[in-house]
């Protein structure tokens, strides 16, 4: 039966379910859920990153000794890695000791890279999974059709011990993408356009499902950028419904291919809102200080001086991102006034970049390459001084996030970043395509 005020999917027919509804129902052990309903859900995976020691401290505080299911824990030491002070070292030691004591098999140390990318690369994220973790950008798991959502460290400890958490079933927004990007425009520009249009809370408490004729051609890397950035419009979770691209990318990574069971929405699922975007109409976009929703076409900020350019993060530190930048930088030198910091998202990405030669291209152009991880986006290196300006491919430009509260951050695609690093000012990447 439908709820009062809630439209039926088809006249006279039963209401269909969205992906978020189906996953939450399955993880709560019920047949159907309705938006607004609160359920006790059992996640398949609980991710904790550098915050792990804090959850360990909660376990101690409440006197809990047992985990609900150690195989559901994943720990990746990605922020501030390797440790840069004794405090970080001690905290990481606590996390390592905990992982050893409890036999956590999905433990990845400071060499691995950003938790989100590492977990997806290692086949720990599957379509239909419910995944929570100590990071708002858990929405990225929706690139593979999983429901990912961020929680705090106390709640992570709670899920470790009880296996469950309360979740409110969200309404869903349908985003349909048609057309093709023009050369020099990418998934990052699409997301900055959407965040600017819908606002920082445009999808607050809501699930987002992507559809449309443009999707089959979009790579898993682009989908990760989309599911990651959708958090910046408040999304609770995001889905790119699994298709051939998903299967091709994920199957070789799964320990058991039989685990690949896509969850898709019913044809008569109910959406709160439908939005269509023609990718062909988009231009390179930039988020200006100090809010991600403060977006402008790059043409409106051309010539803005930059001191630092950061190529990395869970939004745009993937191999394809590095490759796009390298293609622009190849055979050229960056402006001597710019520090270009490149932080590959993971060890796998770093290795691929080494083998293909793009790492050499980046270094030859003047880039400084760091170890894989969150890097400057999490305030690990690349700290900005008073008055300095950073251009970054990350997902946040909040005041003081990369250092001084008198510095400022612009966000862009990897292509815009590379073009700008060459000129020392924000530049239009389309002239390089």
């Amino acid at each position: 039966m439908s709820q009062p005020g809630r439209p039926m999917g088809q006249p006279g027919g039963p209401t269909g379910q969205t992906i978020a509804e189906k996953i939450l129902a399955a993880k709560a052990g019920v047949t159907q859920v309705t938006p607004g309903q609160i359920v006790d859900a059992y996640p398949d995976l609980v991710m904790s990153h550098t915050a792990t020691w804090r959850s360990v401290s909660v376990m101690k505080k409440i006197g809990a000794k047992r985990l609900y299911d150690p195989s559901r824990l994943a720990i990746v030491l990605d922020h501030i890695s390797p440790a840069k002070t004794e405090k970080y070292a001690a905290d990481q030691q606590t996390s390592r000791n905990f992982a050893r004591e409890y036999g956590i098999e999905k433990f990845y140390d400071v060499d691995a890279g950003i938790a989100h990318l590492v977990l997806m690369e290692h086949g720990h994220v599957k379509p239909g999974d419910l995944i929570v973790g100590t990071d708002s950008h858990c929405t990225i798991y929706g690139a593979l059709g999983a429901l990912g959502s961020g929680i705090g460290y106390t709640e992570v400890a709670s899920v470790w011990v009880t296996g469950k958490l309360w979740m409110k079933v969200p309404t869903t927004i349908k985003l349909t993408l048609e057309g093709r990007f023009v050369a020099g425009v990418s998934a990052k520009d699409l997301m900055l356009h959407l965040i600017g249009t819908l606002g920082a809370d445009g999808c607050g408490y809501k699930s987002v499902e992507f559809y449309g004729g443009a999707l089959p051609d979009m790579s898993v890397s682009e989908r990760m950028t989309m599911a990651n950035l959708a958090m910046e419009m408040g999304s609770k979770c995001v889905f790119i419904p699994p298709d051939e691209k998903t299967r091709e990318w994920l199957l070789p990574r799964l320990s058991d291919p039989a685990d690949y069971k896509p969850v898709i929405a019913d044809e008569n699922a109910v959406y709160e809102q439908s939005i269509e975007v023609n990718l062909a109409e988009l231009t390179p976009m930039v988020a200006c200080p100090h809010q991600v929703e403060n977006t402008k076409p790059v043409t409106e900020v051309l010539g803005t001086r930059i001191d630092q350019a950061f190529l990395g993060s869970c939004a745009n530190g993937k191999y394809e991102d590095l490759a796009v930048a390298a293609a622009i930088l190849k055979g050229r030198k960056i402006d001597p006034r710019v520090r270009l910091i490149v932080t590959p998202g993971s060890k796998e990405i770093l290795l691929e970049a080494m083998r293909s030669g793009i790492l050499a291209t980046l270094v030859e152009s003047g880039a400084l390459v760091t170890n894989p991880g969150c890097g400057a986006c999490a305030g690990d290196g690349g700290t900005m001084a008073d008055g300095e300006v950073s251009l970054s491919t990350a997902n946040r430009n909040f005041v003081g996030r990369m250092g001084s509260n008198k510095s400022s951050i612009y966000l862009s695609s990897p292509a815009t970043l590379a073009a700008s690093a060459l000129q020392g000012v924000i530049a239009d990447p389309r002239e390089f395509f």
Binding site: S149, G152, T154, G234, V399
Partner: protein, 165 residues
Amino acid sequence: MQDTIQGRIYKFGDNVNSDIIIAGRYLIYIDPMQLAEHAFEMLGEGFPARLRSFDILVAGRNFGCGSAREQASTAIKGLGIKAVVAASFARTFYRNAINDGLPIVECPALYDAVTEGDVIQIDLAKGVISHAGNSHAFPKMPDSVGKILKLGGLANYLKSTLTTS
């Protein structure tokens, strides 16, 4: 936790993100007092000292957006703030506040009615905010969630359920 909270309000705008509430470099702390020393520091001179003379924060839309860092609500508690009333919250902050035992209220109607320094009274049991002779109703939390807040947060709640089970 008391059902009634009264005090002077400090007023913020929309989209106050958790990086502003507590910068990433202080996430090495989890103690409310240590965190409070650096709360809202990014806003510049005078912060956080200025906030210590207020009891309740009132904000516009999407308070606590951005990072899922739980220390954002912990830092606010450490400042001695007794509740946050916003037009809306980012979901991670909303959960973290409940888990931290920091009362939060969604009440869009209050925002335009108040100015800094006003005194308001929040009745969590009745779901009403009183201000200058006016009443603003707000939806109460479901009991299943409210009981966590009532016990002062998720750690206390877990402790009580672990000892009884």
